[in-house]
Symmetry: C2
Subunit: 300 residues, 2 copies
């Protein structure tokens, strides 16, 4: 396959028609028409062979789903709605047309579930497969849920369960493995956190509860105490729940007086701690200091 | 360097303040506020070690400049103005903090020249360095210069000179080498092609004149005859001018009756052929069939 034939294949598979898309794949740039009164959200996420996935564990369909789900999860964490995505794919020598087809079919399926269009990207080759996804989303002007709004006294809450993805990767067994391979971005829950619960801050749990809570606290210039027990995925260890990462649940804060419902958009929610003043980013768990560990690859 | 320290370094270097940027690096997504009456342009481009650059030829500063210049060139080809970019960088084992600093300083310098902000990205590691750039630009509503507007009878024109980048890569000598390492995106020329010359179509010469003209003709469903001589860079061969690629000049079409000025935004422009009806994408050069060759990497 050469670049022209790859682009032809991608174009035949991509769902590029959606409201607001003036031009999709096929020109120097894609053209989008923003709606009045909306802010735009932009996020980009790598999915790289032997860093974020392994050929033996992840099929082309798993990779396509997961690449986009990670970007959608960032949009969910801002309380937004995904509108469009661009998919850059550098193919390895082992990647054939069948893999590319499975990748795009699965990615398009997730995009279509949320009425988002695939409007462009780039293709190349590389020694190991590398994918980079850009997702463009929207939120009513000035209303994005941010990391920097947590206040001392706020309750810390999380959607769903933690540690399932790490358990699935370690055990290779269903149902935990499905959590690792096909995460469900919490888009509807994110919008309800913004509109109904009026959360003060939010982040998605992509790199592990401890590390992502640390990041939220750094941006909000606060410290946090986790109480436990955590809403662990059945069978997941405490370490997997605290630092496993890739759960793609939403970690958010609410003023103490606000009533927490049992679930949001059908996903259970659990209060797991409280924000306090202190050294920004400092964490405790069950009364002891907690290291902000998780997915944090070392470079050289 | 771990991910947090890379992000801290990038954040300290990035010029993320610009009109319309509500939030830059530091949250799940960047937030942008679009201006009324504008369409958005989106493009993404890989820069991968041993595919698009080599460590021995390109410094960190060259890579930063070139990565962004390629995206800006796509915005130029639509007659647009760049507003913001996101930079995803997967570092190789050999990449140190000095390389990353030089990369971002140079990238920021080009961004600042055009009042564009660096508002986000992703970091990772990989066996070979991989960069993916997203550029978001703007153009008045419905006015983007596209590839699909060329009509039989239109004159084919090009800005600047061709083959300099390929000559520079082959010879390793100035001034051609500078064309390869530090291309100047033709942003002002692109805007004038849209507003003053009212070009009917446009594409940037990134993969070679023959291949990019072929692509423009495919989108416009027309054929094209090139006359020669081409405006070659001094010392460049005909093959380098026809198929060398990476010149980042603008290839555009004008109705035959429109007067072509000698230069646009200070860049010389030359008429090099004409659009005709025929098999879409079919090309001739000096009366003989021309294969649409250029930069077109084979995948496995």
């Amino acid at each position: 396959m050469n670049e022209l034939s790859i682009v032809r294949l991608i174009r035949s598979l991509a769902q590029s028609r959606a409201p607001g898309v003036v031009a999709g794949i096929g020109d120097d740039c894609a053209i989008l028409r923003p709606r009045p009164g909306e802010d735009l959200l932009l996020t980009t996420d790598f999915l790289i062979e032997d860093v974020h996935f392994r050929r033996g564990t992840h099929s082309g369909a798993d990779c396509g789903w997961k690449a986009l789900a990670r970007g959608f999860s960032d949009i969910a964490a801002m309380g937004g709605t995904p509108r469009a995505c661009l998919v850059s794919l550098a193919l390895a020598p082992w990647t054939g047309a069948g893999w590319v087809r499975a990748f795009y079919r699965s990615l398009n399926q997730l995009a279509a579930c949320h009425n988002a269009a695939v409007i462009g990207g780039d293709t190349s080759r590389a020694a190991k497969l590398a994918c980079d996804i850009v997702v463009l989303g929207a939120v009513p002007r000035g209303r994005a849920l941010r990391r920097d709004g947590a206040k001392p006294g706020d309750v810390i809450c999380v959607t769903g369960s933690l540690g399932g993805s790490a358990l699935g990767l370690a055990s290779g067994k269903a149902p935990a493995l499905r959590r690792h391979l096909r995460p469900e971005p919490r888009l509807e829950a994110g919008r309800l956190l913004r509109t109904r619960l009026r959360a003060t801050s939010c982040i998605d749990v992509s790199d592990g509860l401890a590390l992502d809570l640390h990041r939220l606290c750094l941006e909000s210039k606060v410290a946090a105490d986790l109480w436990g027990p955590l809403p662990s995925f059945p069978g997941a260890s405490l370490e997997q729940a605290l630092a496993g990462g890739e759960d793609y649940e939403l970690l958010f804060t609410l003023p103490a007086q606000r009533r927490l419902p049992a679930s949001v958009a059908g996903i259970p929610v659990t209060a797991i701690g409280a924000i306090r003043s202190g050294k920004p980013g400092e964490l405790t768990f069950a009364g002891a200091p907690l290291t902000p560990r998780g997915w944090n690859p070392r470079f050289s």
